[in-house]
């Protein structure tokens, strides 16, 4: 009997206690579950400070003192009372941060979304509507209705309508008509997020479930079509990475005929240059940090290019005409360079950050284009165009072509062939260094970085046809796209094996690649 009473009391008081509690005290409780409750309560409370406190919480700047006073930490590390805004000094170092986990983060996103629907800035409202969509909670409907009534920006309005549709559809208690009306709104959105909301109600009985199921099927058909285009994009993206990695080699190996096994290490040095540039800029000119990659590109070119010139003058020039021995010496060199970097920077990965303008993705119809890869694709083509232009239109390029085509004649015309050799090798190495800047954005920056690309680079150059930059470009793109179409069918490992075997067979049929050089150079 007593137990029953206690249970009754608990049942009665449980919710009462939670609701009666001050949401601010809940936030300062230190328990994940209570904090989550606090976020929900605060969002509904109409407290004018709610948005401020919740965004501080989201940014990890909300602290509390042992007496449950909430503090907000400013960027400079000073504290202010979350309610009054008065500065508080934390002399005893007692302030502890309010820790959050994923479930709090979800609730927080939804709560802040609802609060920010009325923000004066349309892009904030757009993001807020997105967050409300992600949460698709029926509780947000009143706020959405109020926001929709005031909304003037058409993009934001669409997003809010979608968010409202998602919330209505997810509410089993809503009127059937309203829910049915929500289905076409979501189908019109047509992306994976909309599909997710629809699919979550698709197995409910009744007309809503049936309509959702049909909508899911129609979205799937559209997505399927887009996925084909998406694969092409992935292929081009992979191809552009291969192209960048191989571009330098197309000069040193393709044009000069030097089998440079240390090519990958030039790429690696470029990536490490990026790291150093970022560190230096972070320390001395933090305001320009966003442009660090733009600074790193010429720096990487110079560093790798200079090292290339040094290598050519000290090592490779003694080995001209002995391609296989060059291979061995440069392999030894690659071991040494790796170990140098390992000694200088340590064996573990270095953190090269991605600037904001290269993070995230944009949506183009049903295509997801990640910014870093899109920039790398553009960059790769830019590099190739610049290389071709340099070889074709500059005096240095003219001399380079002269020397590779007929060394003696070039020398007789007064061209200092040794210097041209050094500069050509420097150019190839420099381009490899630039590739390192790009690769630092998608891969590990570690001493092993270069090794992962060396075989692929040689394949690309041989496949495209040695000495032909167009061939290299097309070769890289073909390999990238073939790889990306094989991958979903055969799996990542088998796909790569199939590509390699195809490549071996191709080279055996066409030993000089897709675009063989014609003329006397062939038998040289």
């Amino acid at each position: 009997m007593l137990r029953l009473l206690a249970l009754l009391l608990l049942l009665l008081c449980g919710p009462l206690v939670a609701h009666a509690d001050d949401p601010l005290a809940e936030l300062a409780s230190g328990s994940f579950d209570t904090v989550r409750q606090g976020v929900e309560d605060l969002a509904q409370s109409g407290n004018p400070n709610a948005a401020k406190i919740l965004s501080a919480l989201q940014n990890g700047q909300l602290y509390y003192l042992p007496d449950h006073t909430l503090l907000i930490q400013a960027d400079d590390g000073s504290y202010a009372n979350a309610i009054t805004g008065k500065a508080v000094s934390d002399d005893d170092a007692e302030a502890r941060s309010v820790r959050i986990n994923n479930s709090i983060r979800s609730v927080l996103d939804a709560a802040l979304g609802s609060l920010r629907l009325f923000d004066p800035n349309p892009s904030v409202r757009l993001n807020a509507a997105g967050a409300v969509f992600d949460a698709h909670q029926p509780a947000a409907i009143p706020a959405l209705d109020r926001a929709l009534a005031k909304e003037t920006d058409s993009a934001v309005k669409t997003r809010m309508q979608q968010a409202r549709a998602a919330a209505v559809l997810s509410d089993p208690g809503a009127a059937q008509d309203a829910r049915l009306a929500a289905v076409p709104v979501l189908r019109a959105r047509g992306d994976e997020a909309a599909r997710g909301v629809l699919a979550s109600v698709a197995d409910q009985p009744g007309p809503v479930g049936a309509a959702a199921k049909a909508a899911v099927a129609s979205i799937d058909r559209v997505l399927q079509l887009w996925s084909l285009a998406q694969s092409v994009y992935y292929g081009i993206s992979l191809g552009s990475v291969l192209l960048l990695a191989a571009a330098g080699l197309a000069i040193t190996f393709g044009v000069m005929g030097v089998i440079n096994m240390a090519h990958g290490e030039m790429v690696m040095l470029g990536a490490y240059t990026t790291f150093v540039v970022q560190q230096v800029m972070h320390a001395y000119v933090p305001s320009l940090y966003g442009g660090s990659l733009l600074v790193a590109i010429p720096m990487a070119f110079l560093v790798a290019g200079l090292i290339g010139v040094v290598i050519e003058r000290s090592l490779i020039r003694w080995l001209y005409g002995r391609p296989l021995e060059t291979l061995l010496a440069t392999w030894g060199l690659s071991l040494v360079l790796q170990q140098v970097v390992r000694s200088l920077f340590g064996a573990d990965n270095r953190n090269v950050t991605t600037p904001d303008w290269m993070s995230g993705a944009t949506q183009l119809g049903g295509l997801t284009l990640t910014w870093n890869r899109t920039y790398i694709i553009l960059f790769a083509f830019l590099v190739m165009a610049a290389l071709m232009a340099a070889l074709r239109y500059t005096p240095l390029g003219l001399r380079m072509r002269a020397v590779t085509q007929n060394r003696r004649m070039a020398a007789a015309m007064g061209i200092r062939t040794p210097w041209i050799d050094a500069l050509t090798f420097g150019l190839g190495s420099g381009v490899a260094g630039i590739a390192g800047v790009a690769l630092s954005q998608i891969d590990n920056v570690s001493p092993n970085l270069g090794q992962g690309y060396i075989i692929d680079s040689f394949m690309v150059v041989v496949f495209g046809g040695v000495g032909n930059l167009w061939g290299t470009t097309l070769g890289a793109l073909t390999l990238g796209i073939v790889n990306k179409f094989l991958e979903p069918i055969a799996g990542a490992v088998l796909g790569k094996i199939v590509v390699l075997v195809l490549l071996i067979l191709f080279v055996q049929r066409n030993p000089r690649g897709m675009f063989p050089l014609k003329g006397r150079a062939v038998e040289a």
Binding site: R99, D134, E192, R195, A361
Partner: protein, 446 residues
């Protein structure tokens, strides 16, 4: 066994007049007792072997473990050494080359006469040296989480077995995030294969349908994750909460997380829980887009205990680098080394046989405020911690098992091993004892 033939040939040699060969002819027992005699410390030092790759692909992870061992040995020497003698580290570089691991192990034991070896990271390196340790009867402390299904008398496994990492992590996601759909993504090698096999059986036993489990394997060092991440996103759009359980190894993680961040998969949408991503791996990534993704380990640098604070501070001082992080395998070496010290003190000798017997039951403090005990199956008890990635490259601990978890060296989810147990105490002394048939199938110490 083929002992008959070999001893016959040896006896033949003995007749040639070489007395020692006849002695050796009596076989394994003789051979095994003569080796440890040689392993006794000579002079004023006790040698400790460190077998971690300092070059090649694994240097990225293993170099740190070499450094932590050097630190622990230095500390122990500052405390007066062991059995009145100084410890001396013997460092070799097996260069991420698996046969070289076996060669170096043999060298450490039979040329350098080390008393114990701390080393290996990958499963294959452990498999490569295992026969050497069993043949020459020495001790290996193996500090990395691994696939289980092994229980050698000569190895002490101070890393986690699958049940000390994977299952609590899945339970956390089920209960905390209400996950209903699972992507098991891994690198194609033994550890992910086994872990996923166990997880698949476990999830099915909880009623998860086959359609709600997606398994994907990629090669080592996979760097182009575009379509795999896209297919995860697609798999996650079925209206049920989806999570990724990642056993992706080392180098492939950085591009994987970068792609996740760029394709906008947030931890609140599709959380990723990883078993091979620790503070060291995160040091190479900008973690801001990854906040909230999870990892399950038995230790995090962010553990708030006095022991850990001291350990982290000593480590930063030892490496003279305030940015060096600590991680789970380092704690495993910390525990393993202290256990070995205790076992040697208990046995009063560094003789491997005596130390192996003395080690079982030894308990030392771990860094998360509890005790790690060496169990009869040569695995240790561990707490399981779940951490969420923070913007500063550290983990915020969001869950911790209430007690310590005992390792299951033989998985109950694999048909052939569900009846096996390992127990190296007398009188059983067996690494794989079948409780159904009552026989010892492997690893019996003669």
């Amino acid at each position: 066994m083929s002992q008959d033939e070999t001893s016959l040939s040896r006896r033949g040699l003995g007749r040639l007049g070489v007395a020692a060969a006849t002695l050796a002819a009596f076989g394994a027992v003789e051979a095994k007792t003569s080796e440890p005699a040689a392993a006794q410390p000579t002079g004023g030092t006790i040698k400790v072997g460190i077998l971690h790759s300092l070059s090649g692909t694994m240097a990225i992870s293993e170099t740190t473990l070499k450094d932590v061992m050097l630190m622990l040995i230095e500390q122990q020497n500052a405390k007066g050494g062991l059995l009145g003698k100084k410890l001396e580290a013997v460092v070799v570089d097996p260069a991420s080359n698996w046969p070289l691991f076996a060669e170096k192990a043999r060298q450490l034991i039979s040329v350098d006469k080390v008393a114990a070896v701390f080393g290996c990271w990958t499963s294959v390196s452990r498999k490569s040296v295992l026969p050497v340790f069993e043949e020459l009867n020495n001790i290996l402390f193996y500090p990395v989480q691994y696939e289980g299904q092994e229980c050698s008398r000569n190895v002490f496994y101070t890393g986690a077995a699958p049940n000390q990492q994977a299952i609590p992590a899945v339970d956390y996601l089920r209960n905390e995030s209400k996950v209903k759909r699972w992507v098991l993504a891994g690198t194609d090698y033994v550890y992910p294969r086994t872990t996923n096999q166990i997880l698949e059986a476990y999830l099915k036993s909880l009623g998860v349908a086959q359609d709600d489990i997606m398994i994907n394997y990629t090669p080592f060092g996979h760097s182009d994750w575009q379509n795999i991440v896209a297919s995860i996103k697609n798999f996650g759009s079925a209206g049920k909460k989806t999570a990724v359980v990642s056993t992706i190894n080392g180098d492939a993680n950085v591009p994987f997380y970068k792609e996740l961040g760029n394709q906008g998969i947030k931890a609140t949408d599709i959380p990723v829980v990883a078993f091979s991503v620790g503070e060291e791996e995160l040091a190479g990534i900008d973690t801001k887009p990854l906040i909230g993704h999870l990892a399950a380990w038995n230790y995090f640098e962010s553990v708030e205990t006095p022991q850990n604070r001291k350990f982290v501070a000593t480590w930063k001082k030892f490496t003279k680098n305030p940015k060096r992080t600590t991680n789970d395998p380092m704690e495993a070496h910390y525990i393993g080394f202290n256990m070995w010290i205790k076992a040697v003190e208990k046995a009063g000798t560094t003789d491997p046989d005596a130390v192996i017997d003395a080690a079982i039951g030894v308990a030392v403090p771990n860094l998360s405020g509890g005790y790690a005990a060496m169990m009869p199956n040569h695995h240790i008890t561990k707490p399981v911690l779940i951490g969420e990635i923070q913007g500063n490259g550290q983990f915020s601990i969001v869950s911790q098992t209430p007690g310590l978890v005992v390792a299951q060296e033989w998985s109950p989810y694999v048909a052939d091993t569900k009846d096996l147990i390992g127990d190296w105490r007398a009188p059983m002394r067996c690494g794989a004892f079948n409780v159904k048939t009552g026989t010892c199938t492997a690893g019996k110490k003669v």
